[in-house]
Symmetry: C2
């Protein structure tokens, strides 16, 4: 059971993101919201504080107003992805672009600042990707471990925080696609070997190139999964429609 103020906050967030409230518009007063959600005003206040920190609402004595989505915090990405049956395709692609770019940057930084031990840790993290018979979930976890190792080795705090935030909002919303993902074991293994070599030689350019290839693989895999999931959804919708006609 999630806390009540979180329920209220999530409802309001969904309302705003679904354009139930337009930017600049005034939100109902805390007292009105308390009545609507059958909650205490304190709980509503905590929910409003959440909205404020997400940059979705500007809250001042006299009234709270909805802010432009571009004014929001990075933390709204998860909520945006969480809407609808499938996460928004464009946003998913945008997140991938950013994550991959940051990953390449982190690798570049790591090559120059990381200790030999940390480079060795990254190389260790590439090992599981050699294995052809890893399950989808295990393979995804292995890739995540690699990502994490690179980020830590970059010794760049903002970089780590951004990657963590993006990933933690991204991953849970991709679970609905997970069953449709077909892991390209051979492709990843090939990439893992190249990365290992580049790391060993501390070759920044080669590392960046490899990570860009890695990104391409990830993206293609996800696009395929997306198409499959979309077909499945459409079929389900058709079936439901036919049943409705038969009734």
């Amino acid at each position: 059971m999630t806390a009540k103020h979180d329920q209220i906050a999530n409802t309001l967030i969904a309302d705003i993101l679904d354009d139930g409230y337009r930017a600049g518009e005034r939100l109902p007063s805390e007292r009105d919201l308390a009545a609507r959600f059958q909650a205490n005003r304190g709980a509503v206040r905590e929910a409003m504080k959440t909205l404020q920190q997400l940059g979705l609402a500007d809250i001042q004595p006299g009234g709270a107003r909805v802010q432009q989505r571009e004014q929001a915090s990075l933390d709204i990405i998860g909520h945006i992805l969480g809407r609808g049956d499938l996460p928004d395709r464009n946003v998913v692609d945008q997140v991938l672009v950013v994550i991959n770019n940051l990953l390449a940057l982190a690798a570049e930084q790591a090559i120059t600042v990381a200790s030999d031990e940390q480079i060795e840790e990254i190389r260790q993290a590439t090992r599981p990707l050699y294995q052809q018979q890893l399950g989808h979930v295990e393979h995804a976890l292995a890739r995540f471990s690699l990502l994490r190792a690179v980020m830590v080795a970059s010794k760049n705090l903002p970089l780590q925080l951004i990657a963590k935030s993006l990933f933690e909002q991204f991953a849970p919303n991709m679970e609905s696609l997970a069953v449709f993902v077909e892991t390209d074991h051979t492709g990843y293994a090939d990439y893992a070997r190249k990365l290992d070599g580049a790391l060993q030689g501390r070759n920044a350019a080669a590392v960046r190139r490899t990570f860009e290839a890695f990104a391409k693989l990830n993206r293609e895999s996800l696009i395929k999964a997306y198409n499959a999931a979309q077909h499945a959804l459409d079929n389900a919708a058709n079936t439901q429609a036919k049943e409705a006609v038969n009734r």
Copy 2:
């Protein structure tokens, strides 16, 4: 006059970031904090909610615990930069590295997805940088406008949100350095011209190269300012010490 719950939150945040509370340690209860700050528990609760959303505290029935800094939100960067007389040099450099990399990515994206009108807007934003006689503040604002135009043209929401968040936390904490910055007008003008040309030809590689040169300029300028500010601070400290001896 800032709100009381914000004061409480800021004090607690500073305590945590200054290692007043170690990771894993339990924070005082809301009731104790209310007594300490001579405030209502409701106000303390709102402050705690801030800490939670910053990822600094894990707050559960039974007690709140301090979280690892690596678990925090990107929004703590501003608080980290705000400590001490001068912002932490390493963190400043890290932020610069990330911002510049994102800027290059945004430019690359913009080249491929932006409309002709948006490209034109970016080119317009480069114009002020041609002028040799712009004041430091005006020049900084002009650079910011350019950054903003590129981000918008990238049409990548997460990218925009990250850049906005980083910049808004970064800028106010650089004001203490502002007086020591010597703007390299000639360098910027040179870069602006190259960028303009690359944009006109929609040459992604050239745009990225130009932005990397731009980043280098920015970084060198800030390092110089840092050294100057550090010297000024040291001298002030020495003067104070001598005065103390004379008393």
